[in-house]
Amino acid sequence: MFRKFKIINILLILSLGILSCDREQEVKQPPKVVTVWHWMTDRKDAFAELAQQYEKKTGIKVNFELYAPSDAYTQKVRAAAQGDTLPDIFGILGEMRDFASFIKAGYVEDLTEEMNKDNGRWRNYFFKKALEVNEFTLDNIYGVRPGIYGVPIDIMTIQMLYNKRFFRELGLDPEQPPQDFDEFINIGKRIKERGLQGMVSGWAELWMIDCLANNFAFNIMGKDKVIKTIKGEIPYTDPDWIKVLTLFKRMQDEGLLYNGIVTFINKTAEQLFANEKAVFAFNGSWCVNVYKGMNPNLDYGVMLPPKVSDNYPRSIWGGAGSSFMVNAKSNVKKEAIEFLKWLTEKEQQIFLSKTTFNLPANKDSVIDIHPRLAEFADDIEITTHPRLWGISEFPRVIEAFDKGIQSIIIGEKTPQEVAEEVQEIKERELNKKKLSRSKLVGE
């Protein structure tokens, strides 16, 4: 009796064991989810569509979570970093030093190895300039281990735009924008005669003035001399800097600047150009989307700021667009990287560009994008950005320089006076820096 019972028991245990093994095999792993935090309201729908496509293709769900405006987003990312709750993929807005502090705290994955795999397959997707802003070189001043820490999603360049209808009215060829400063000045004379308004831009926002002034400075004296000036080795009273400042005075005197240009924020300037109130504009590649919304029939072209010297090549601001970083502590790091690789492939980049009118970071995508965007993309290789110079000017000096240009435009000061004032502030700031350094050494 007991023997029979024992056998039944053994059989029961064995069958339960087999069943449980089967059940273990049946238990499905929950689908992997990659969470992305972003601030790009205008790309919300496009990202959602791409996430759906990716899930269909790989079975991996990607959650794009939008937190806008960008100020609130920045606060959220900082708070999440403190609370160790960063998502798998996120973006860092702000200066290079903010980016560096996230890396040094161990929140950002080094993507160099992934980028260089298979003879640099992933790295080769991108415009060189698009990657530069996500890369820390060997001699970076932030003390970050050299490497690539971000994946560019899009890029931008800041150039000049011209209204083709006005060009025809002025007897100019709309396919031949001015190449050098003299041609530009000659158009100014025609603009004045016809009672039109010249160039509009958001020059109440100082950084936009700084941008054009730097374009001119790079063309007149070259990058090395600009960097030497920032280092304090060359004064702002140098004749080349006076030349840069004088160009703004000439543009004003020759009727090339819109009346009251220094009082406009960029949104107002965009509105004026879109409503055909100005012949020229100075704006970033994002304007293609803006003008499309304000006036879909606007007929305009993109041109480089006119050449002001033959000494050095022209240079424009650009390169830096939106980038994503991978959380180094993420549980789905591998999946997050794979998703970013897919997102930056040609097809997805074309889709993003066509739906959101941003310049794609993938260099092979520019063949199939909006023609105006393609014009902006043409000049990406000559872009530069202060974030990449490895040294930054004192904020007070930048402010004095840009405000000085405003004063020149409104006729308050001469280029010489502005240069002297800027140099005075520069020297004061350099002395302060020296003093604080010597105090530190003393301690």
Binding site: W39, M40, T41, D42, K44, E65, L66, Y67, A68, P69, S70, D71, A72, Y73, Q75, K76, R78, A79, A80, Q82, G83, T85, Q271, A274, N275, W286, C287, N289, V290, G293, M294, N295, P296
Partner: protein
């Protein structure tokens, strides 16, 4: 007779000047509101071209589109829930605290009160990161309770200050009479102090309602789930990085402003009383 005309004329001229002044103030207050409603009825193109306050073609569909695209339904319910909970919480805690500060003597009374007042000086963005870390440790992040507690905390200092100032000026004799009738300390607060403080409570309610109704930055930081977000977040749907859908944004703003305007109109009588009678330190 001459002096009669002189004084009458003086009165009329003075009245005209005062009315012109008040009308111009009212116009500056109303203009943005009218502009908002006018723009909400334009198209994305006409908003940059047609600067008239009343557009030639009214696009009422903007309201429907704003409601639908912004997902206002869910957010409206969330905001109503947060506003009611936070305002009730603030009224309850601040009235009890203010009554205690005004009537009772206890160790560290002044120190605690000044600490509350000092909290008024700290700008809210300065406390975002510590709040986030604290809520995370308490497992209250991404929960309505966490957000409500934070918002109650934000509104407490000013409300306590307003109510304490009022209670300090209320005659104690009224409470003595109730005490003789056998009223407890809580009973005195409920039956005597609170009914007397109605005008100040109205001010507390309106100010905090406005504060919670318009808040979104803290919500964005605390919440990960879109389902929990308040109404103001819906408005960010229309604000792109470089481009803003102004007609939809203005329609959304009009929708979100209506409840607050209604509350203000309904409680206007109490607010004026509250501000003039109780809420100002003499």
């Amino acid at each position: 007779m001459n002096s009669f005309f002189y004084y009458n004329a003086k009165k009329v001229i003075l009245n005209i000047i005062i009315h012109i002044f008040l009308l111009s103030i009212a116009a500056t207050c109303l203009f943005p509101l009218i502009w908002m409603i006018g723009s909400s009825l334009k198209t994305q193109q006409t908003v940059f071209r047609d600067f008239s306050l009343i557009p030639k073609e009214m696009h009422w569909e903007n309201y429907y589109l704003a409601w639908k695209q912004g997902g206002f339904g869910r957010y409206f319910l969330n905001t109503i829930f947060y506003t009611v909970s936070v305002v009730l919480g603030i009224v309850f805690v601040s009235s009890l605290a203010a009554y205690a500060f005004s009537r009772f003597e206890f160790v560290g009374k002044n120190l605690i009160f000044y600490m509350f007042m000092a909290a008024m000086m700290i700008p809210i963005p300065g406390s975002f990161v510590p709040l986030y870390v604290l809520l995370n440790k308490l497992h209250l992040r991404n929960t309505p309770l966490g957000y409500i507690l934070c918002m109650i905390n934000v509104g407490l200092s000013t409300s306590i200050f307003l109510l304490k100032t009022f209670f300090d000026k209320t005659p104690r004799e009224l409470e003595d009479a109730a005490r003789i009738d056998g009223c407890s300390k809580l009973g005195l607060w409920w039956h005597v102090a609170l009914p007397l403080a109605k005008p100040v409570l109205a001010v507390v309610v309106v100010f905090n309602t406005l504060n919670v109704w318009n808040e979104y930055v803290l919500a964005l930081i605390i919440f990960d789930s879109r389902q929990l977000m308040p109404l103001q977040v819906a408005l960010t749907t229309f604000q792109g990085e470089f481009i803003t859908q102004y007609p939809l944004l203005m329609a959304g703003l009009t929708i979100t402003a209506i409840p607050v305007i209604l509350i203000y109109i309904l409680m206007q009588k109490y607010i004026i009383k509250g501000v003039t009678q109780g809420a100002i330190v003499e």
